[in-house]
């Protein structure tokens, strides 16, 4: 037994009811093959993937459907074998419900794998860069919900001297148990994926942070990591937002990431446990990321479950598989209740970053009318970032977004701790997200304006220069004509003179 890691305190945070008991004891179950899969081309942060198939094509399981474009992007693969029945637009897994570029695949039921290159014999014999390349090719993105392409983070080695890999198994969002189950049922595979990532990053130390409300996962991971002295398990107090990247790193290493910076600035890279599992799958078996574990829960779900779901499976099929609704949900959420986003409907597909689908009743959301702020400072105590949410909201309410920025708006991680504890039910995060969006829009508008001005000025200068050139050319021509005329006259005069003298 390894000694327990000393932990460091972070400020703020809240203790929501974790509701994990609904699904913590249900093993991961394979979701039956759906009738249609809708695979969006953008399931990650960065540029969307570019489609390589067209309607009517037959594809095999694991075949590349769309390749990544640009530095920050990720490819998507066929979750099963079948026929492409559409390359077009389909409602996105996003609160807006807008349509996005999506490939629709009709499974043929054979579920036949593509004949790929043989998986490597030993990932540890590969060059670290090669591991990142394969992770990129497998379309792996941060599976805790952030969906940042994982390979980009594995390549940070070239820019930073990395010391520590922190694995995020905190799963601090209530209800969600997908990471918990994965750590319990696939601990060896997860540890293997972690070791491959540690090798790719060139770090000597790995810390796996798991909250104390998951003792079985802690024990399973501890046992699986026993043989590897570089891996430590950190038993984290159950407190939201323990899974916030920078706060997790501070809890286990004691070092605070500078504002506006990356954890890499302090020599640390963070990856999620589900990402580690996907890396294991990709490097050991050559399998791309085509499925993930999703927790289907909430008071309105009759039989809450943890399901292994193919990417692209419509959410309505998951809900039906979980026995449907026991009552009409007040809200349908993608992700956890603290930072998850409402879903516009049940037609939308599961994507790489979906860790949960929650159908919450009004008793769970406790949605009430907002009352005036009584300056009780609960939000100040709860904020893990040391902000004064009530003052920021006051500035935003009065339209002074710069005032809110001066109070630290851009350091807000939108964790929702403030709104969770607000006795007046003020939607603080809504204020902050609005302000952040508005500021981005303004910045973009300003940028557009500046660009337009720059281009217009350049055009004026260019036109002026052209005119000038024309004028000069004209003047030159005139001069040349003049000179030619004079020359001609002179020549004629000379000729006449010559003729006269000659005669």
């Amino acid at each position: 037994m390894k000694p327990l890691r000393k932990l460091f305190k972070i400020r703020g945070g809240v203790h929501p009811d974790d509701h994990k008991g609904r699904t913590a004891q249900s093993s991961i179950e394979d979701m039956p093959m759906p009738a249609l899969l809708h695979i969006p081309l953008q399931q990650h942060i960065g540029s969307p993937a570019s489609p390589m198939v067209k309607r009517g094509d037959r594809v095999l399981k694991g075949q590349l459907l769309a390749h990544s474009q640009g530095m920050i992007s990720a490819p998507v693969h066929a979750p099963t074998s079948g026929r492409i029945v559409g390359v077009g637009n389909y409602p996105a897994h996003h609160p807006s419900g807008l349509s996005v570029h999506t490939i629709t695949l009709q499974p043929d039921g054979a579920d036949r794998w593509i004949e790929g290159e043989a998986p490597p014999t030993d990932p540890f014999a590969l060059e670290p860069e090669e591991i990142a390349t394969r992770v990129a090719a497998a379309g792996i993105v941060g599976m805790g919900g952030a969906t940042f392409p994982s390979a980009v983070k594995l390549n940070l080695r070239s820019r930073y001297c990395l010391e520590t890999l922190v694995i995020n198994g905190a799963e601090c969002e209530p209800y969600l148990t997908c990471d918990d189950r994965l750590m319990r049922e696939e601990s060896a595979a997860v540890i293997d994926g972690i070791r491959i990532m540690a090798y790719a990053l060139g770090v000597k130390r790995v810390i796996i942070g798991i909250e104390n409300n998951k003792p079985e996962a802690q024990a399973a991971m501890q046992a699986a990591a026993e043989a590897f002295p570089e891996i430590e398990i950190a038993r984290l107090p159950a407190r939201y937002p323990m899974g916030s990247e920078k706060h997790l790193v501070q809890t286990v290493t004691g070092v605070e990431t500078p504002a506006r910076g990356l954890t890499a600035d302090i020599g640390v890279v963070v990856h999620n446990v589900a990402t580690a599992y996907a890396v294991h799958d990709a490097l050991r078996f050559g399998r791309p990321l085509i499925s993930r574990v999703v927790t289907i829960s909430g008071g309105a779900i009759r039989l809450p479950k943890n399901l292994r779901v193919l990417i692209g499976t419509p959410i309505e099929e998951l809900i039906t598989h979980c026995g449907g609704y026991s009552e009409t949900p007040e809200r349908l959420i993608s992700g956890g209740p603290m930072m998850g986003q409402p879903l516009p409907g049940t037609r939308v597909p599961i994507i790489k970053g979906s860790n949960g689908v929650l159908a919450l009743t009004v008793r769970e959301t406790k949605a009430e009318e907002a009352m005036p702020c009584i300056r009780c400072a609960s939000c100040v105590k709860a904020c893990p970032c040391g902000l004064v949410p009530l003052e920021m909201a006051n500035y935003i309410r009065s339209g002074d977004l710069e005032g809110a920025v001066a109070y630290g708006l851009m350091d807000c991680i939108s964790c929702g701790s403030c709104a969770f504890v607000c006795p007046s039910n003020i939607r603080l995060v809504q204020f902050f997200n609005y302000a952040k969006g508005e500021l981005t829009a303004r910045q973009r508008a300003e940028h557009t304006q500046n660009e337009t001005r720059r281009l217009a000025e350049a055009r004026t200068i260019r036109l002026e220069r052209q005119k000038q050139a024309k004028r000069e050319a004209m003047a030159r021509r005139k001069q040349a004509q003049e000179a030619a005329k004079q020359a001609k006259q002179a020549a004629e005069a000379r000729a006449q003179q010559a003729a006269r003298t000659g005669s």
């Binding site: 929501p16 920078k246 910076g261 350091d411």
Partner: protein, 365 residues
Amino acid sequence: MSGPVSGPHAHGAISLRQTMLLVMLALLPATLFGLSIYGWPAFNLLTVTIVASLLAEAVCLVIAGKPVGIYLKDGSAILTGWLLAMTLPPWAPWWIGVCGALIAIVLGKQVFGGIGQNLFNPAMVARVALLIAFPLEMTTFVAPKPLFTESAPDFVQSLAITFGGGMHIDAVSSATTLGFVKTELGRHNPLDGALSQVFDLLNGFTGFMPGSMGETSAMLVLLGGLFLLYRRIISWHIPVAMIASITLLAGVFHTLSPEHFTGPLVHLLSGATLLGAFFIATDLVTSPVTARGQIIFGAGCGVLVYVIRSWANYPEGVAFAVMLMNALTPLIDHYVRPRVYGRDRKGQPLVYKGESWERDSEASR
């Protein structure tokens, strides 16, 4: 689907109304004690003050065009009236309560924009205004006459005291500890001997002495305060800073000159010190929002209380002290903020001296 787009889609258990209810619950023991030792007149005054507060709040809400039901139910008007009554002489006539309630709700709270917007603690605005306008009624205290004892007025008599032409002041009046101290010092009498006539440690603690309706029982006020701390409605910063600064100042001056300055225990157990420290200075709306700000605020209240009691004309200074510090709250909140994550106290991103994990851009090429 309706509802906001942003999370969280869950909420902590406690609401604004529950917060107010818990504060009332914390006030209950001291209130019941006050009612029992000062009898029916105290009950009348408390009722009148609370009813007047509710009516004033309702009228203001109607004028402001706000939904009356929701805002009345939040409990803040009841609490304001209640807190004000706690600081009034228990046998004061009814119009003291009504005037106080009007001042508190209309001038102290609603003209600022209602709940959460007021700069000063409404109950203290009212108390100070009453003290200045009606000094006689506001400083006429009675000795405890516990309910159902022979000396206590019955309900009918109490109606005459509260609603009648006023009480027979001379027959019942009795000095508070702080009032007595002020008078004795005014007569240039040394304190050490005289004080024992009015102040008894045990009575000071339990509350069997003349004073305002809900201020006398240090024990029960403290109990309520600890309950608020336990339920995390208030944090320890303001009460501890306030009590500590009073104790420190009183201790120092009492040691230097015991015949002119009373000791810390007298200061803590008499007047509104504890009620002020736990229920009035900690008023959420009018106190700073950060821990450090609250310590500054609490210490400031304590210093002002001591200064007013010792050197100003009034024997008691909690209301003035809290109001003066209320005026400083916006200033404190502007300058005292928590350190933002990843930044130093000046707001600049943290820099780790001598340590850099970024590879030298030249070397990597």
